[in-house]
Amino acid sequence: MPANGKLVRITLAFAAVAAVAVTATGVASARQANTSISGAGSTFVAPLVSAWINPVANQLHINMSYNAIGSGGGIAAIQGRTVDFGASDAPLTPSQFAGCVVGGVHCLQIPWALAGTAVIYHLNGSGLPVHLKLTGAVLAGIYLGKITYWDNKAIKAINKGVKIPHTPIVVVHRSDGSGTTYNFTDYLSHVSATWKSRVGTGTAVSWPTGEGEAHSSGVAAAVVSTNGAIGYADVDYALVNHLHYAAMQNRSGKYVVPTLATIKAASNLDTKPKVDGSLSIVDPPNEGNNYVNAYPISTYTYIIVPQKTAKAAALKKLIGWAITKGQAYGKSILFVPIVPKIVTFDQGQLAKISN
């Protein structure tokens, strides 16, 4: 019937217009939609990256997702190009750099955050200070299995006047590959020749003694449950979980705990990254007043990106923001803002990224 036919035609016309309108807005909003960037790696830097997700989405229109599977996992992921960036606390070895070459495209290593590793412990006793004092030599002795009781002569000599109970030391370390382990063993290799020759530095090493736990959460759980336990975890972890941590003696003779100021003091040791982008700031030497307040177990952590990538523009925007505005988000979780010299180096690295 003609009336129905007209109605049908009008309805169809409206439907067509509506469909076109919806598609147009769909296309328009797709153009304004956020780019996605995915990353994986270090658990050490995970709290800072998490703090960045919202501001990055709002200010840069980038949807960042990060999977904290450990430094080794991050390196493997970026080598396989299954993520847009990898994050590692341990700098890449030459063979890992070689493994990161895909289709002739190399990877860049860019230091983007700075923090420290705390030596956590659990010791029950009355009159114990908030931060027990330890030296590098004593710490190495503990982890080598040579010092087995908390009231060992060496520990008592450092903590004069403190009544330390006769508790056996239970050594706890990481069982999985970890950048925190790298930082910790790097420090022990610096302060103990025996450690350096017998065990060495690595994301996973052959521990002479102690129990291995998976992830910082495992280490923390073991330390909390065992009287006499000693372990290591990133500083933020120790703070958030209210763990006791030691005051470590630096080369200048001072006993320091990890704080924004002491980690920053350590970072003054190395402000010129090597060609591959790595920096070493553990165990700063005794040079007058230079590193008097330095915390000796500090470390940079790195982002690893391919030099040629389809997401070059977004990555450059993201990293450029992270090393400048993003650093402010780290202060409350004990990530020290990286110094201008490093920022300049990083921007030079960023300029090498292209489509």
Binding site: I69, G70, S71, G72, G73, A76, T93, S95, Q96, G99, P168, V170, S175, D176, G177, S178, V199, G200, T201, G202, T203, A204, V205, S206, W207, P208, G210, E211, G212, E213, A214, G218, A221, A222, S225, T226
Partner: protein
């Protein structure tokens, strides 16, 4: 024997002759493809593992199996203490779990009041459904500290003269791993045994009771021998699960790869746990290849255990067949 010709049989629908043959064909093809696919998958996995292990096989050879020590910094890898840890934890779990599981199965099949049986069975089978990660988490936050605080020192003070129960220091140790594995394989053995016990013919049980046997004598003399081969198969199934359990064990075993020791309160490590914990974090191709070598050892180990299981089950069933 008379067969109706499908093309002339009036009871069939028209064209059904062709359809029946096509249906059969499709069934054969799909089922056959699935079976072949499974075998091909097994072959592919085996091939990939062997390929990955080639570098380690040539570097370390068979010494990998007997030597001890896992050193990623100096690139020296060996599976000795891992194999030892795998054997100790799996066998330990089996030794602890089997009597418990049989007791549970007996309770559920013979001794429990009728009203409890259903819910109790369901609850015990739910134990098997708990994911390994959750048990690992519970192990490290609850079980480990509990054993470390109360059980380990008590066992050491009472049984300390046996090297097995040496000094206890760690929350994560071989004993904790054994307890965790026991909890994981208990429901498997218990539920299979329960089914087996329910399948024992009533006449046999009643005959024994009628002859004046006590309940326990009936269990010992009728139920257990009758279900011998099935219980053995259940135990092997549990052993298989214990051998391969990676995540839960990794959380509670303490990752010690540098020696053998008889003290179950010392830290240790198993092959599966090592692979699970290190696989994502390999720093070099040689470490990756060493992990593949570990995987190869575990594969071969599991195949041998399965093969031995089939032999045992067949031998026990054969004997029982002759007896009845």
């Amino acid at each position: 024997m008379s067969t109706l010709d499908p093309t002339t049989d009036p009871t069939r629908r028209p064209f059904s002759g062709r359809r029946v043959r096509l249906g059969d064909l499709i069934l054969q093809a799909v089922a056959g493809a699935a079976a072949v696919g499974a075998i091909v998958l097994l072959g592919l996995i085996g091939y990939k593992v062997v390929q990955g292990a080639k570098l380690s096989l040539s570097t370390f050879g068979l010494g990998f199996i007997s030597h001890v020590g896992w050193d990623p910094v100096h690139l020296r890898y060996a599976a000795g203490s891992l194999l030892f840890g795998t054997a100790v934890t799996s066998l330990g779990a089996l030794v602890l779990a089997t009597p418990l599981a049989l007791a549970i199965a007996l309770f559920l099949s013979e001794l429990a009041p009728a009203g409890i049986r259903g819910p109790a069975t369901a609850l015990i089978e739910t134990l098997a459904a708990i994911p390994s990660v959750v048990i690992g988490l519970w192990g490290i936050f609850v079980l480990g500290p509990l054993l470390q605080g109360h059980v380990d020192p008590a066992l050491h003070s009472v049984l300390g003269f046996i090297p097995l129960f040496g000094p206890a220091q760690y929350a994560s140790n071989i004993f904790t791993a054994i307890v965790v594995l026991t909890i994981m394989i208990l429901p498997i053995i218990a539920s299979i045994s329960r089914e087996l016990f329910l399948g024992v013919p009533a006449e046999l049980k009643e005959a024994a009771l009628g002859l004046g046997a006590t309940r326990w004598e009936m269990v010992r003399g009728v139920i257990l021998p009758y279900t011998r081969s099935g219980v053995a198969a259940a135990m092997i199934l549990g052993l298989g699960r214990a051998l391969g359990e990676a995540i839960a064990v990794a959380q509670v075993i303490g990752a010690f790869d540098n020696g053998f020791g008889w003290n179950i309160f010392n830290t240790g490590d198993t092959i599966a746990a090592k692979i699970a914990v290190q696989f994502l974090n390999v720093g070099s191709p040689s470490e990756l290849s060493a992990l593949f070598y570990l995987a190869l050892i575990l594969l071969v180990f599991s195949l041998v255990v399965n093969f031995a299981a089939q032999l045992i089950v067949r031998r026990l069933a054969h004997r029982q067949g002759l007896a009845t």
